[in-house]
């Protein structure tokens, strides 16, 4: 049908609209593909060896039991405490492993399971539930250090459906968008209509004109420009970083743990023998996915609640806003911590849902305020007079008027979500089986990375978080300034 629109301006109008939709679908597919990758590596084989590290920080023994492990029922778990390399004078250390057990349904009580002494100890995980291995180290001067790790024993490895839930959700959304485009095009083709109607072409031209204007303003705005540059760098790292990374990060290499920076490992290795530089590159992708996807969930929910309560008004609005006040009042970190503690073991999907489902109330309040001001305008009244339904009015008139604000706010929410993930991970609610900047910081702080001399282990993820958050904040502020009519006069 392109032959019917020979004019280049008109076909461009089609091009930008379709390209935008296709871009969104492709981005979602990419996100879905990358969500597949880290989870596919999860799911440990039976008989996983668990590694404990004892490092000597400032001449004191520091126990580090290691990463949370997932095994299947009946596997043999070997607890192996060994001294990390490069420390002298560690003789006379005394290791104790103490293992206790709880089943999945009972989050509160652990019952004693077995006491094991010595550097290496073995037990058979013959029940489903959580085994907690506590490692105590005592040196000749009676100074002790203690750490624990959870070994989660499941009936069978998580099913394909469970471990790919996020990828399936994202894939379904992108599939729906693609199918929608296809159905739209074929229907027009079958009917013999031009694919793009006259009105649609004009609208696409206007949208393109306006978005070009926003982009031009954004590039002129110093905050927006710096934000875009920072984000471009980090999006590049998130997209290609894992390919550039010199080492794999899903495997534990006990023989390689806690190595100071060298030629092979430019930032050293962590307590599981993973290359820190590779982890940093991999972490960029997961941190960005967590931030972006949970911000999108939060914005979607917030926009839905805000549109509904702002449009219907009356007592329903009042009830929705009181509920919103309640969620907004509970300090955000406390709410997330309590929910994470209740769920117990969280993975990538879990942490995204926790952040997304607790973060929508600010957006809802803002969207509602905007809807209230739009609702009273004359064109809404006119649309109602010619018999447009409520849904059509929201879709055609009210939503497009709030979208710019929602968009700017989503960008700001991404920054908050990345911070939330880092904080939750740091406080011990680490998503299982993936590397994010937050989990890196958490392990680094647990292993006293600074005292060991692995400065990059703490500094690099921290700086990355600061820069990405700065990028999203700058871009969000700049967009807000351009798109928010109240601020435009400045």
């Amino acid at each position: 049908m392109f032959s019917q629109n020979p004019s280049s301006r008109q076909s461009k109008g089609f091009g930008s609209g379709a390209a935008a939709i296709l871009l969104v679908a492709v981005m979602l597919l990419l996100a879905c593909a990358s969500a597949l990758a880290p989870l596919a590596a999860d799911g440990a084989a039976p008989g996983q060896v668990v590694v404990g590290v004892i490092s000597l920080a400032q001449d004191e023994p520091v126990a580090n039991a290691g990463l949370q492990q997932n095994v299947t029922v009946g596997s043999t778990v070997m607890l192996n405490a060994s001294l990390s390399t490069g420390f002298e004078g560690a003789s006379g250390l005394n290791y104790t492993w103490y293992v206790d057990y709880r089943n999945f349904s009972d989050a509160a009580t652990f019952s004693p399971f077995v006491d094991l002494y010595g550097v290496t100890a073995t037990f058979i995980a013959n029940q489903t539930g959580v085994y907690r291995a506590n490692l105590t180290v005592k040196d000749s001067q009676n100074r002790t250090s203690y750490d624990e790790l959870s070994i989660i024993v499941r009936e069978k490895p998580p099913t394909w459906l469970e471990s790919h839930l996020l990828a399936i959700i994202l894939g379904a959304i992108s599939g729906v968008i693609l199918v929608w485009v296809l159905v739209f095009v074929t229907r027009r083709l079958v009917k013999g209509d031009p694919i793009i109607s006259e009105a649609g072409r004009e609208k696409a031209g206007l949208v393109r004109k306006r978005s070009m204007k926003v982009i031009r303003q954004l590039l002129k705005n110093p905050m927006g420009l710096i934000g875009i540059i920072i984000l471009a760098v980090f999006i590049f790292i998130a997209a290609f970083g894992p390919l550039l990374a010199p080492y794999e990060v899903s495997q534990i290499h006990p023989e390689n743990k806690i190595k100071l920076p060298s030629k092979d490992h430019i930032m050293g290795t962590d307590n599981f023998g993973k290359d820190i530089w590779s982890e940093l590159l991999h972490g960029a992708r997961t941190s960005m996915i967590v931030g972006v996807v949970s911000a999108m969930i939060a914005s979607f929910l917030g926009a839905a609640v805000g549109l509904y309560s702002g449009y219907v008004g009356g007592w329903k609005d009042e009830v929705a806003m009181r509920l919103n006040d309640i969620v907004l009042s509970i300090p955000w970190l406390v709410l997330m911590i309590v929910i994470a503690a209740m769920i117990g073991e969280i993975d990538l999907t879990g942490i995204i849902l926790i952040i997304g489902l607790t973060g929508w109330s600010t957006t809802a309040r803002m969207v509602r305020a905007q809807v209230l001001s739009v609702r009273e305008r004359q064109y809404i009244e006119r649309a109602r007079c010619i018999g447009a339904s409520d849904l059509a009015i929201i879709r055609r008139h009210i939503f497009p008027n709030t979208f710019p604000l929602v968009f700017a706010n989503t960008i700001l929410t991404v920054a908050v979500s990345i911070l939330s993930e880092a904080t939750l991970s740091f406080l011990g609610f680490r998503p299982i089986g993936i590397v994010t900047w937050g989990t890196m910081l958490s392990f680094a702080s647990d292993s006293s990375a600074f005292q060991i001399g692995l400065y990059w282990w703490i500094l690099a993820p921290g700086f990355c978080i600061v820069l990405v958050v700065l990028g999203f904040t700058l871009l969000g502020y700049a967009l807000d300034e351009i798109l928010n009519p109240k601020l435009r006069h400045r």
């Binding site: 006040d325 011990g428 978080i465």
Partner: protein, 339 residues
């Protein structure tokens, strides 16, 4: 007087909202407890195989666990409002209310000091950079603020802790500060006695945690103050004031600041939730015995009785802060009274 009457009516309406919200938080909390996995009685009875199960039934009866959901909710509301918050699973079964009140003092001290400094410094920096908009100070302070605004509080805490407990790059003159605890227990004993040297020690131990907490929020407050003032400075009456021949200081002090303050007050109240979140991380890293440290401790021990009322306390604190800000706004800004 009509204005006083409407003032009362507005306050009354807000007060009803506050009460409703607090009730909502308490009820939400009830459902949070019911979603928790596990049997609450299991944590109260002694762990002994020879244990008599009839005691368990008696306890179930005593805690109304056999009643219907509605009755349980009613009992829960009664107990919450009469401050019978139960006992902790750990901590020698101390009363939850008692534990929370004890820890609250330290959190209030920490948050209070850092918020006071935050507001003073943040407003001063924000006002000056709005006043010299586009100048070197403005560009510098805004970019530094944006940098610190996005910094994870826990990471800043770790870095500051390391900076002030070691001599970085071998600089011997570098000041050293205590990096954990709330006063020098080694010198003054484990039992807290309020003598002058102990107070000095408490203050010294407060420096790092409150500074960490303040850095992020100073950045936020100064950014908001700046944008709010820049908004006001472009209004027509500022031009009029300038045209009258007032000095820059007079314009700022008597025309711009009073009109730039109301959004500040609302935003500081909104920020309280974030300050509490930051205090959690700071207390965790500096071993400061406040509510935040207790929360992490309670989570590690699965001590749900403490955890649930920490949620309530946090929510109520935010609601009350917002209410006080509202009252202040209505008092300051006559336009709200009329509308």
């Amino acid at each position: 007087m009509p204005s006083r009457k409407s003032f009362r009516r507005v306050i009354g309406k807000r007060l009803i909202n506050v009460v409703l919200t607090i009730f909502g938080i308490i009820i939400l909390n009830f459902f949070l407890i019911h979603l928790m996995p596990g049997d609450p009685i299991q944590n109260v009875i002694p762990k002994n195989p020879k244990f008599d199960p009839s005691l368990k039934w008696k306890l179930q009866e005593q805690f109304h666990l056999n009643d219907s959901m509605g009755e349980q909710l009613a009992w829960y509301m009664y107990n919450t409002l009469t401050l019978q918050w139960g006992t902790s699973y750990m901590q020698n079964r101390r009363q939850v209310f008692d534990i929370i009140i004890t820890d609250m003092r330290w959190t209030l001290l920490l948050v209070g000091i850092s918020t006071t400094f935050t507001i003073l410094i943040g407003i001063a920096v924000g006002a000056y950079s709005a006043y010299r908009r586009g100048g070197a100070f403005d560009v510098g302070s805004t970019s530094i603020s944006l940098f610190f605004y996005g910094m994870p509080v826990f990471w800043l805490a770790i870095v500051l802790q390391l900076l002030f407990t070691t001599h970085p790059l071998g600089m011997n003159w570098w000041p050293q500060l205590p990096a954990g605890g709330y006063y020098d227990t080694r010198e003054y004993g484990a039992e807290l006695k309020w003598t002058f040297p102990v107070v000095l020690s408490v203050m010294k131990y407060l420096i790092l945690p409150s500074a960490t907490l303040a850095v992020g929020t100073v950045a936020g407050v100064s950014l908001i103050m700046r944008s709010s003032l820049v908004d006001t400075m472009t209004d027509d009456y500022i031009l009029t004031a300038r045209a009258k021949g007032l000095t820059d200081y007079q314009v700022l002090r008597h025309h711009a600041l009073p009109n730039g303050m109301p959004p500040m007050i609302a935003l500081i109240a909104m920020d309280i939730a974030f300050v509490i979140g930051g205090a959690y991380q700071v207390e965790y890293i500096f071993n400061y015995p406040g509510i935040g440290y207790r929360t992490i401790d309670a989570i590690n021990n699965r001590d749900f009785p403490i955890l649930q009322f920490i949620v309530v306390i946090g929510g109520v604190a935010v609601v009350i802060a917002n209410f006080l800000a509202d009252v202040m706004l209505i008092y300051i800004d006559p336009r709200i009274k009329i509308s």
